[in-house]
Symmetry: C2
Subunit: 78 residues, 2 copies
C-alpha cells in the first residue's frame, strides 16, 4: 500500500531553511509569514490491512525517518 | 491563511535521496519500495479568499518554490 509520511519541525524549533525561503519570497515582493519546510516521504509498504501498514510505517519513522527530538510526523495510508 | 505546498519529483525523475533512505530501511530489515522524498512547505499567506490565496501561493511556486522541470506541486489552503 502507498504510504505518505509528512515530517515537520516541532513548533518552536528554529527553521533556518524556512527563514531563507521566506526572505527569498520577500525579495520577490511576496507577502508571506511563518514559512516552515518539512519532508514528504512516499513509499510502498507491503500489506493489505491499513492498520498493519501504518504500524510498519510508524516503526520506520521511529527507527530512521524522523528525529523525535526536533520533528513530528503524520502518517497517511493512501 | 495557512497554505501547505507539497512538492514532489515528477514520475521518472531519479530520486537519489529516496534510494538512500530505501537502502537504509532495507538495512534495518524493513520491506519497502519506491521511496520518494519531497518537500512540504507551510506558510501564512495574507488574504481571506481561498482562491486568491491559492493564486498567490501558485505564483510563489512558479517564481521560487518549485523547479518546473523536475518537480510538481499541490497547493492546499488550510
Amino acid at each position: 500500500m502507498k504510504v505518505r509520511v509528512s515530517v515537520q519541525l516541532k513548533p518552536g524549533i528554529l527553521d533556518p531553511q524556512g527563514k531563507a525561503v521566506e526572505q527569498g519570497l520577500h525579495g520577490f515582493g511576496f507577502a508571506v509569514d511563518h514559512v516552515r519546510i518539512g519532508r514528504l516521504i512516499e513509499m510502498d509498504v507491503p500489506g493489505t490491512d491499513p492498520a498493519e501498514v501504518k504500524a510498519k510505517a510508524q516503526a520506520m519513522c521511529d527507527k530512521l525517518l524522523v528525529n523525535p527530538v526536533m520533528e513530528k510526523a503524520s502518517i497517511e495510508v493512501l
